[in-house]
Symmetry: C2
Subunit: 607 residues, 2 copies
């Protein structure tokens, strides 16, 4: 199977076209400006004296923040060159390249701090930064033809190959934070140079299987934290720091595809199954615990403290997308879809300039700073998006994710076109054309017009219990297969639906969530005059939909109840009174955009 | 109103008689032996060199642990002298008295450590320790006639009066941990010396109203933590460290009674209302948060992390009991009853030798140590009772509480006898006799035979919706008033009942708790083969009761459902399947007595 890369497709308006417009008009500059204000670009001057004088300090992962921004900017440039934006990128790249060491090493932190500790501290993110630089370099060369950064990172990678696999002088064998592995596969694909694939395999194969990287890693965490608890082919569960984990699994899937490594593919599938069936919020969010930003155990999916970092959730979508390239199984793309439409894009404001790092499934303002005796000693996710973070990995990550979203749409297998995701857009690829006309996911109607393919395979979303097509088909593994059609009309019936959690998810006992297609809905205080946590829903409710331009999806109302406060804490069940209420829902991804307000995804059934 | 002190009553078997038997046969020695093992008695030798040599260290509140044990032992001695037990107490008292300083000061920590810091550190519990010594001294003199400890503490209190109110040389004005205030009222009552009442008033009146005790107290907490946020008569909510708070409120109620201080009484009533209507678990447990062991905000009553220290809950019962002495309002005693039968006695094992400090309302073993990436960094209450704690305040506190439980039973107002609580026992008091025959709370039938009173007022428990009496009565404020009866048969109908929380208790939305009279029930994994958190209850269930000797209360079964695991995390509501299950409940106070097991009080209704 071959993926049709996003830059062959132009998304026109609708859900993702609109997200890309905001991304181009607002986000790319907003992230740049905040990075400028926080000295991230000035840090590239590597002037320790200046920093001491001015009282600031390069952070050891700032290179990666900048690299992700470059990658996002490059994806925007794919849709149209822009001198001003390129000038900014070029200036950054000039500064970076000026600081590359004679031996090829580059890192704007180690250049001036802890220089003697180069490649001795496993958790200092040097190879993680390099991975993002590789992705940025490939993206920027593809968009502009400029290869200065690519030349620089290739020279650096050659140095890494020497240090890690020939001289073996590094104090660790595999990086503390994965990322370089998947970037090396990309670099191999971009350059055709086998050595990069070999290095990717080295880092993946040694993980969990070498004596140099000790258990009790970093003095903070166990080997699970760093996905170092097992050799990768023996892994069956998603473990540890959720972003690191996903970046590893993406690389594993990439290598499984490149190398035809079935054991690696089976490990990936077991892990993805573990995530999708036991360790994922209904929003596609992953990594329940702020402690270690980590996976915990099966079914540990508490709503209010849900960590579910934006980076982790979008990386889950990317992992699924890599799996889809190996084998078209509907549930891979179903899982990606939850992450795409919910827990990843909730990370950016509707206006495009503010960001969530954590994406909780409930915000109960009464619980925040709740202890006047010991204020601020309890930890809760923040309740409003910020313009930048100290650890600001998520903002540029969602930038690059949204602008490469077209990567999710199509793969081809010989003369069969696979349609995995529905987005309004036109594609030209190696002489073939695809036109997809749809308002998905606010409406389930999709028109496909293709030229150059004999067969079509379209994913039938797992949530869809009824659909119609203008031609006969056969369904296998979540895909409907069509023969010899050029024009196809599909209608995936979308109705609001209530879902229930598996019994193991103890926090959701007696509760339901409302979804519309792949989009999770939530109740916010701003739309519901009562305490939203005192509201419950009628399981047999009818729903009313109202189109809403701001949300890009309909608002939904349902029949519910307010438990009446009788003044007593505990009341006999037959004495409790309820009043009818209309419950107002909006898409979860749009939560907390209209001021600080209570928010809840899992709504109790009337008790 | 006059209280009839517990030592005029002999409890015969039944619920509390049995608790007292175990307390006498097991708990008093178990606590003593653990205290001996942990050097608490050896610390009274005040031999710093020995401690340095052996590598241990007196703790600054050990005097209070020992004092509470003495008080508990004294209450047992009220039921029958015991030379061996008295010899232990006498030896302790000899050691304590030998270490009293020339000026009257006594503290086994400050005697050898930080001696120059005497009365300079507000949170070092010197006056808290003295308070418990006062209570112990009064109790021991009453039980045995021996007054050595009482003489010692009186001399110490005289010194405190000089330092705090005459010379004013202490570095704080009111103690960081309340307790001395209520003890001073007791000392005033025991000796008739007005100066002790004055000192109690001094400490209570200055709280929240003096410049010497700063906000931001201890560098840890705000003034709320130490109930120093307002002058006491302006308080309307229960704030801060829950044990400290309760000890203050008890003293406030005592002073309101002694001084006829209506403003103080109204503050107490507002605070108690705040607790009973907004800040109390259904078990009578208080102090939701482990951060500061504190009250938080209204309705913040999460079940799994519930802190609800044993000491706080039993102190709430004592606060209610003090309020009842001022004004017979049924809801005071109802609140006490919840604390008495649930969250306080859950603090001691059925065998009497192991203790909970925290009393959570749910124990989900899957949640404990759940993060293999970062093991042990998450905080949960312990799941099995311990024999002793580093901070072992609760074990001797429950010892003294159970052995003075008779204090809750009766007050008299002229020729009216008030019966507040139902316990099987015989009372002789100033020539009058009362015999109460009952198996309460396993059965609601009570026979009262009295001699010496003209009128009877018996509390009708707030949970009781139907009762019968053998004589005509009139109900006011939760009490049934009877004229001219010597023998009275009462029958409070007890049926298992489901209760629902106020809408503000967000954690309990969609959930119910099962109570039988005042006794809260829970489900344990050991009695229910399925994952108890996947079980839900039928709101219209019938209940089956089975007498159980071990629990001293019936086991209860109800009709419920098990949510079937279909392998998917999220399922459409109409596709979820349930199987019928019989739900097994036991009294909450007996939780975790049969090995480590899942436990839950608030059960979801079927979703």
């Amino acid at each position: 199977m071959k993926q049709i890369p996003f830059y062959h497709t132009r998304l026109n308006g609708a859900f993702w076209g609109e997200k890309q417009r905001i991304s181009k008009e607002v986000t790319v500059d907003a992230v740049y400006d905040r990075f400028a204000e926080t000295k991230r670009f000035e840090a590239l001057k590597c002037d320790a004296e200046q920093q001491a004088r001015e009282g600031w300090h390069t952070h050891f992962f700032w290179d990666s923040d900048i690299a992700k921004w470059i990658e996002g900017a490059a994806y925007i440039l794919e849709r149209g060159r822009n001198d001003a934006l390129e000038a900014k990128v070029d200036a950054i790249i000039d500064d970076m390249c000026a600081n590359q060491m004679a031996d090829g090493y580059y890192n704007c932190f180690f250049k001036i701090y802890d220089t003697e500790k180069r490649f001795t501290i496993r958790d200092r993110h040097e190879l993680y930064c390099l991975g993002h630089l590789i992705e940025a370099a490939i993206a920027y060369r593809h968009a502009t033809g400029k290869d200065k950064l690519l030349c620089m990172v290739e020279r650096y990678v050659d140095y890494v190959i020497r240090v890690f696999t020939v001289e073996k002088t590094a104090k660790f064998m595999t990086p503390g934070h994965e990322e370089i592995e998947l970037a090396l596969v990309k670099l191999y694909r971009a350059t055709g140079k086998q050595k990069y694939l070999e290095l990717a395999k080295f880092f993946v194969d040694k993980r969990g299987a070498n004596a140099l990287d000790p258990d009790g890693y970093c003095g903070f965490a166990t080997a699970h934290y760093a996905q170092d608890h097992l050799p990768v082919r023996e892994m069956t569960t998603a473990e540890g720091h959720s972003v690191r984990a996903m970046y590893l699994y993406i690389a594993m899937a990439d290598l499984a595809l490149e190398c035809g490594d079935e054991a690696l593919f089976h490990a990936c599938e077991a892990i993805l199954k573990n995530v999708a069936h036991k360790r994922m919020y209904v929003t596609g969010g992953i990594g329940s615990s702020h402690i270690g930003e980590a996976f915990t155990v099966d079914y540990d999916l508490k709503n209010e403290p849900a960590y579910t970092e934006t980076c982790a959730t979008l990386a889950l979508a990317l992992f699924c997308q890599r799996m889809t390239k190996i084998k078209p199984m509907g549930w891979y793309a179903d899982t990606a879809e939850l992450a795409m439409y919910n827990g990843s894009i909730s990370g950016v404001s509707m206006a495009g300039d503010e960001f969530f790092y954590e994406n909780p499934l409930a915000i109960d303002l009464a619980d925040h700073n709740k202890n006047p005796a010991t204020k601020d000693k309890e930890r809760y996710p923040i309740t409003q998006r910020l313009k930048v973070f100290g650890c600001s990995c998520c903002p540029p990550n969602i930038l690059r994710f949204i602008n490469a979203i077209g990567d999710f749409m199509y793969t081809e297998d010989g003369d069969t076109l696979y349609v995995h995701h529905y987005m309004n857009g036109e594609t030209e690829y190696e002489g073939k054309t695809i036109r997809q006309t749809t308002a998905y996911p606010s409406c389930g109607k999709v028109k496909l017009e293709v030229d150059g393919y004999k067969k079509l395979a379209v994913r039938v979303p797992g949530w869809c219990t009824a659909f119609e097509a203008s031609a006969p088909y056969e369904v296998r593994d979540g895909y409907a297969y069509f023969d010899a059609v050029d024009v196809l009309d599909l209608d995936f019936h979308i109705q609001p639906r209530l879902v229930v959690s598996a019994p193991g998810v103890h926090d959701n006992a007696g509760r339901v969530a409302l979804l519309y297609g792949p989009v999770v809905y939530c109740m916010e205080g701003v739309d519901n005059k009562d305490d939203i946590f005192a509201l419950s829903i009628d399981p047999n409710t009818a729903f009313t939909l109202t189109p809403d331009e701001y949300f890009g999806m309909p608002r939904i109302t349902a029949d519910g109840y307010l438990k009446v406060d009788c003044g007593q804490l505990y009341t006999a069940i037959n004495a409790v009174q309820y009043e009818n209420r209309c419950l107002n829902f909006i898409p979860y991804y749009a939560m907390e955009n209209r001021g600080e307000t209570d928010m809840q995804v899992w709504i109790p059934l009337k008790a």
